[in-house]
């Protein structure tokens, strides 16, 4: 009887420790990311310091590297994506939670989730052979003809560039924003909604007053998460962004994002500065994604907590 109890004790302890090591191993892994990438960026960061991130040049001949053109490319495409995606995602989320019924709701929810399942390289393939020609032959010439005086529509219609990348990214982050918005909408207590309807509000007014108004911070969190995803997207962007390290006001212009730059140049960077600069950009991406994620999670978590008690 004594022996049995001892065995159990050891078995339990062993199990517990194995699991603990693996769970905390994740934290170790995160730290390893941080440390290793920082160490490999050191040659360039120690030379020019944080000014690396706002230096506007990338010249392998003179060995002068700065991340600004790619920060621009990343931010511009991601903002375009957000601008296009947020209204669409909210619309889809609202349709699913408020307007659609039973079977239709399930189908729609499923379709939105399937959007998330398509791999980046397939979106890139589709972007390259469907979206780009469409932009080049139809959309951009039209915009150029009628609105070409605006700086954002300046330049030759090439198809590839900020516009194409922004559109493809918008589609890719829609499921993220839509799904989280849907979760937020579902946490809103029924009382709010029924109350509004009982007072004679139209459907839209109910949505506007009870749901949207109370979900602002939740939607913000969802958007930040979507933004975080857009910032790190690599393949689809690399295939349609035009591969040009330049800052420009026009949506037609080719650009380069931080992620697509690394994908294009990392395999061949052999100069110490070149390699360190690329790694530094990767490090920047890491920091930004960690930051975006934490912020978004905290916001979303707070919103969900707010309503959980009042169900």
């Amino acid at each position: 009887m004594e022996k049995k109890r001892k065995d159990l004790h050891i078995g339990d302890k062993a199990f517990y420790w194995i699991l603990k090591v693996m769970a905390f191993g994740i934290i170790l892994l995160l730290l390893a990311f941080f440390v290793l990438l920082f160490k490999m960026s050191w040659p360039v960061l120690s030379k020019v310091g944080p000014s690396f991130f706002w230096f506007n040049d990338w010249n392998p001949v003179t060995e002068e590297y700065g991340a600004l053109p790619f920060i621009f490319g990343t931010i511009a495409t991601s903002l375009i994506a957000l601008f296009l995606s947020v209204p669409i995602s909210l619309g889809a989320a609202l349709l699913i939670t408020e307007i659609a019924d039973g079977g239709f709701r399930k189908i729609l929810g499923f379709l939105v989730e399937m959007l998330a399942a398509i791999p980046s390289v397939v979106y890139g393939l589709w972007g390259l052979f469907v979206v780009v020609p469409f932009l080049r032959e139809t959309v951009q010439p039209f915009l150029s003809q009628h609105f070409g005086f605006l700086p954002i529509f300046e330049g030759a219609p090439l198809g590839v560039g900020l516009m194409a990348a922004g559109i493809v990214l918008a589609i890719m982050i829609t499921p993220t924003i839509a799904t989280i918005s849907r979760e937020i909408f579902l946490t809103i207590p029924k009382v709010y909604k029924e109350g509004a309807l009982a007072l004679g509000a139209t459907r839209w007014e109910m949505i506007r007053l009870s749901i949207l108004k109370s979900s602002v911070s939740g939607i913000l969190g969802a958007s930040i998460l979507g933004l975080g995803r857009a910032l790190g997207e690599t393949m689809a962007v690399a295939m349609v962004i035009g591969n040009r390290a330049e800052i420009s006001a026009s949506l037609f212009s080719p650009a380069q994002s931080m992620a697509s730059l690394i994908a294009n140049e990392y395999a061949e960077a052999s100069g110490e500065m070149h390699l360190a600069s690329l790694t530094a950009i990767g490090f920047g991406l890491l920091i930004v994604s960690l930051f975006m994620n934490s912020t978004a999670r905290i916001i979303v978590w707070r919103v969900e907590r707010k309503y959980r008690g009042t169900r």
């Binding site: 392998p60 080049r136 330049g155 035009g242 040009r244 080719p254 380069q256 395999a267 061949e268 052999s270």
Partner: protein
């Protein structure tokens, strides 16, 4: 049901992993580098594998820059580059690296101009101006001046360059730096430069892809990429003042001059070569190996290199490359025999 799923899943992963153990006696040799000679190399490796089924040469066409880098990092058995390694690159290698010239090729200026399917004439000044972004439209008088009778559309000029580190870029910018002081000063030469304007494509393949799809575009690619994609090729005015199309004859003529002064390590530039029939943007392309190769792969690879100097050269012409001049082949064979493993 669950048990079935679990066991099925385990079986599938297991089978997949156990394939790992299916190592046959075949020798796998890994290489990476230039996209310039890739069509020829892939033919070579395929043919050689047919004749020697035990030897598999896995070559990834990722650009000369990557080829050199991976060789220096020793993550591949051999590299390939059209740009000879620079002195500081050779120094950082630690051990001696040997350049083996394999074939001659032409960097052509190809374009997609709506309505123009013939070869246009371009002088060095024009090429430089186009890639500098100084010529904005195809119906610019400067272009018309050298191409009487050709109807150019009012389309914007979009230069296309390599977004990755490229030997082809190195050859092209080397030529431009020679013929245009402005280019030399403002942009310079190298495997990767800061292009004044245009779009980037990854690899010769990527540039050709962009050219095919973008009206008004003009780019530089290795000849076979233009040929296989039915893209027109410009005639470039050479140092002797003649407009020359790239061909076996004009490329070989460009190499002729260099043969007399060929250095022992074969690192030369043959751009803007003298001679009435020389094509001005021609280049050797090299396979790069350490003098002391890996014991397991070295032996087989050296055999392959010998084959490339013999039978290999016969495949070059069909793919729009020029075989090495016979006198050079003799020298290279000596170099190959000096490789150790």
């Amino acid at each position: 049901m669950n048990k079935f799923l679990v066991s099925f899943f385990i079986m599938v992963s297991f089978t997949a992993v156990s394939f790992v153990q299916m190592t046959n006696a075949a020798q796998l040799i890994n290489g990476a580098g230039a996209t310039f000679p890739y069509p020829l190399y892939s033919k070579w490796f395929s043919e050689y594998n047919k004749q020697n089924p035990n030897v598999k040469i896995n070559y990834q066409s990722v650009g000369s820059g990557a080829g050199i880098k991976q060789l220096l990092a020793k993550t591949v058995d051999f590299g390939a580059s059209d740009a000879p390694m620079k002195d500081d690159e050779l120094k950082s290698a630690g051990a001696p690296v040997v350049h083996i010239p394999t074939v001659l090729g032409a960097v052509v200026v190809s374009y997609n101009i709506p309505g123009v399917s013939t070869s246009i004439n371009l002088s060095p000044a024009l090429v430089s101006d186009i890639f500098m972004g100084k010529i904005k439209k195809w119906n610019d008088p400067k272009i018309a001046a050298e191409n009487a009778g050709v109807k150019f559309p009012d389309t914007a000029v979009t230069p296309v360059y390599r977004s990755d580190g490229s030997g082809t870029t190195s050859v092209f910018t080397d030529y431009l730096a020679k013929v245009s002081p402005e280019w030399s000063e403002k942009v310079g030469a190298g495997k990767a430069v800061k292009w004044p304007t245009g779009l980037g494509g990854k690899g010769n393949e990527g540039v050709a892809g962009v050219l095919k799809q973008t009206p008004g575009s003009v780019g530089y690619v290795e000849q076979v990429y233009a040929v296989t994609n039915n893209l027109p090729v410009a005639s470039i005015k050479n140092a002797a003042g003649k407009y020359v199309q790239p061909s076996f004859e004009s490329v070989s003529a460009a190499a002729e001059g260099a043969l007399k002064t060929m250095p022992a390590d074969y690192r030369v530039s043959i751009t803007n070569a003298a001679g009435a029939t020389s094509y001005p943007i021609a280049a050797f392309t090299y396979i790069l190996v350490y003098k002391k190769m890996n014991a397991t792969t070295g032996k087989d690879f050296v055999q392959f290199l010998k084959w490339s100097m013999g039978q290999g050269q016969s495949f070059a012409k069909d793919l729009a490359y020029a075989p090495l001049p016979k006198s050079l082949v003799t020298k290279v064979e000596v170099t190959i025999s000096q490789l150790e493993f």
